[in-house]
């Protein structure tokens, strides 16, 4: 157990961070180069102004027609994604760990806030799971991988919540929390979670084509 803890808090952290960084940079660079070679239009039509215009309409809740048409998933998706990104970066325990290891620190969330946000992420995962099963057209699109991804995202939050509240077996849960968090980080560039990095480019390009070439709105 102790050995596993040492691994999870030592070498695995580095593997996860480096794997994440290398994967992100590598895949994006590969796409940029492929675009240069096979899709030169992407560079021709890309326009920062129209890309940002489109991104703004899709990053502000209810600023696009599609979001207004689907209010429930819009709220769920925004709450889920914000909590998913903010909680691990600003959880007090994480900030303290980083400070103790590398002597750098930043603002952290009050514990009760992080607690609530963790629950929101878990509820978000449940919402997406239920939606995937209950809505026929979403179920049709779903692959086994989509369900695994939900589990992969939920795991660090469930175990983190468990550890924080020091429930039965929290020491094991703590190790699982570290392992699952590292696994998620490592998987980010190599699974559909990569949509996080692709979004600015796909949305931005759609916005560019629609804006600069087609003189139309894409939201």
């Amino acid at each position: 157990m102790h050995e596993l803890y040492k691994l999870a808090s030592g070498i695995f952290v580095w593997i996860a961070i480096l794997g994440f960084a290398a994967g992100m940079i590598g895949r994006l660079a590969h796409l940029a180069l492929t675009a240069r070679k096979k899709d030169p239009v992407v560079y021709q039509y890309f326009s920062l102004y129209y890309a940002l215009r489109s991104m703004l309409h899709w990053i502000i809740p209810f600023a696009s027609t599609g979001m207004r048409a689907h209010p429930v998933i819009t709220i769920a998706a925004f709450v889920f994604h914000i909590c998913l990104i903010v909680t691990p970066l600003f959880a007090a325990a994480h900030v303290i760990l980083v400070m103790e290891s590398w002597n750098v620190a930043w603002w952290h969330l009050p514990d009760p806030a992080a607690d609530v946000m963790t629950v929101l992420v878990i509820l978000g995962c449940l919402f997406f799971l239920i939606r995937r099963i209950a809505q026929e057209h979403v179920r049709y699109l779903s692959t086994a991988g989509d369900f695994v991804l939900i589990a992969l995202v939920a795991a660090p939050f469930v175990t983190g919540f468990w550890t924080y509240h020091q429930w039965y077996g929290y020491e094991t849960a703590g190790i699982l929390h570290m392992l699952s968090g590292e696994l998620m980080l490592l998987c980010l560039p190599f699974t559909r979670l990569f949509h996080m990095a692709l979004w600015p480019f796909t949305r931005g390009y759609a916005g560019s084509e629609f804006g600069s070439l087609r003189h139309a709105r894409d939201w």
Binding site: L31, K38, R132, L141, R192, W199, Y205, R214, R217
Partner: protein
């Protein structure tokens, strides 16, 4: 339902037999199909293909952007992402077997169940261009020789005659002279100038105009004449701005077609191109043609008829005697509204010519497709019933405007006319269909 749908997918032919699909596919083997698609992905599948297929999180938010999905009782196979799943996703999965049934089903999906209207692009949080993905599969089908017969026939016409409708060179000139003669009964000094060098306007139109709707050439000649426009048409091929080849995946032919069209205008040293009221042709010249030929933008200025109409009204070069007095509504064609943002210009022209205007809901970029575009109507009679049934949502949208009092539906696009005519007839909507040019011609001062 889900299982049934998946079962349908295996032999999804809806009982429709099409020589181009069925006979074409029967000549293939799984090895050959795999080889062709793999080679296509290798040579032409770039960053967009990868980014679009990897970014999709299967959220289904595109589903109700699609008129096929909505019209067919939310059939999950017909959501944009559902069509991607059945076609390009399997092609990109190297382990998936691509057999003859797959090609038949994929061909029917990409050619007849997607109008490439891009409405889903503006509902997808990622802006995934499903039309691009469907066209990618169409390109593969073209390379395999599996294309619905009717649209392939128009592609053959393009290849042989440089126009869509097998119009012979002498018939083209004959039609122009015939329309000039007819029009001179009404306006004695009217001309349809052929091959005039250095004219301000090179007017181009689509093959079906001389073939079936010659009166549109007459009408446009009257509008040009009364607006005092300096215009011309070419006697040689290059007059047809349409292009079914970009819809069949024959991009080599598309390049030839667009090149001859631009060159015809440039040979006559025209200052700009004005195109007739057609949407797909506009897309082919403005968006697809320039790219295919390696230009970021068209090599000379070009405008759609709507822009030209708006211009002559703004410059007061044309006079309306009495506004069209029946209530009208407007169908925003995808290729000039989502494809060129001409919604406001169209409304300006309507405002100048009609007394009562009733909006369709949704409208502009959010309007529902006519169901005919993207080459779907060109796949011909075998798919007609399916096409009309796949656009019930359009009928509902039109019925709502009719219930508010609309009597006339304006659609400034030939493809839309075809699709909407069938929808109006099938769902007994009782709307009359018109081009903007019809209304202008009817209401303008002609002396």
């Amino acid at each position: 339902m889900n299982q049934n749908n998946q079962k349908d997918t295996a032999n999804n032919k809806n009982g429709i037999y099409d020589v181009g699909i069925d006979k074409g596919a029967s000549r293939l083997t799984p090895e050959k199909i795999r080889k062709v698609f793999d080679a296509l992905v290798e040579t032409e599948g770039g960053a967009r293909l990868r980014a679009y297929t990897n970014a999709c999180v299967h959220c289904g938010l595109c589903s109700d952007a699609c008129h096929h999905f909505l019209s067919k009782d939310n059939d999950p196979r017909l959501s944009p992402a559902g069509k991607v799943k059945q076609t390009i996703s399997r092609i990109l999965n190297k382990k998936a077997k691509l057999d003859v049934d797959f090609v038949k089903q994929a061909c029917e999906t990409v050619f007849t169940e997607c109008n490439l209207c891009r409405r889903c692009v503006i509902y997808c949080p990622f802006g995934i261009d499903v039309a691009y993905l469907m066209l990618f599969v169409r390109r593969g089908c073209h390379q395999l020789g599996v294309v619905p017969q009717y649209i392939q026939d128009t592609a053959h016409s393009h290849a042989s005659t440089f126009n869509q409708m097998w119009v012979r060179d002498d018939e083209w000139i004959d039609t122009l002279q015939w329309q000039e003669e007819e029009a001179r009964d009404e306006i004695p000094d009217l001309r349809i100038p052929i091959d005039k060098k250095g004219a301000d306007i090179f007017y181009s139109l689509i093959g079906p105009e001389p073939k079936f709707r010659a009166q549109l050439i007459y009408q446009m000649a009257v509008i040009f004449h009364m607006a005092g426009a300096d215009w011309t048409l070419p006697s040689a091929p290059g007059w047809d701005n349409s292009d079914m080849c970009m819809f069949t995946g024959d991009m080599e032919m598309t390049a030839r077609l667009k090149k001859i069209h631009f060159e015809a205008a440039m040979d006559l040293k025209a200052k700009r191109i004005v195109m007739g009221e057609c949407g797909h042709a506009f897309r082919s010249v403005y968006d697809v043609g320039n790219r295919t030929l390696g230009w970021k933008m068209p090599p000379l200025p070009m405008v759609h008829a709507i822009e030209f109409y708006a211009e002559i009204f703004r410059e007061k070069r044309i006079e309306i005697l009495e506004k069209f007095d029946r209530p009208v509504t407007l169908h925003d064609p995808c290729n000039i509204v989502r494809g060129r943002g001409l919604g406001d210009e169209a409304r300006y022209v309507i405002n100048e010519t009609c007394s009562t205007f009733i909006e369709l809901e949704p409208n502009r970029e959010h309007n529902f497709c006519c169901g005919a575009g993207g080459g779907v109507i060109n796949c011909g009679p075998p798919f007609k019933n399916k096409r009309v049934e796949s656009n019930r949502v359009k009928a509902d949208q039109l019925a709502a405007a009719r219930d508010k009092g609309a009597e006339v539906l304006i659609a400034p696009c030939h493809n839309c006319h075809g699709g909407l005519e069938d929808v109006i007839h099938h769902y007994e909507l009782g709307l009359e269909l018109k081009f903007l040019g019809d209304i202008i011609y009817e209401c303008m001062k002609k002396e």
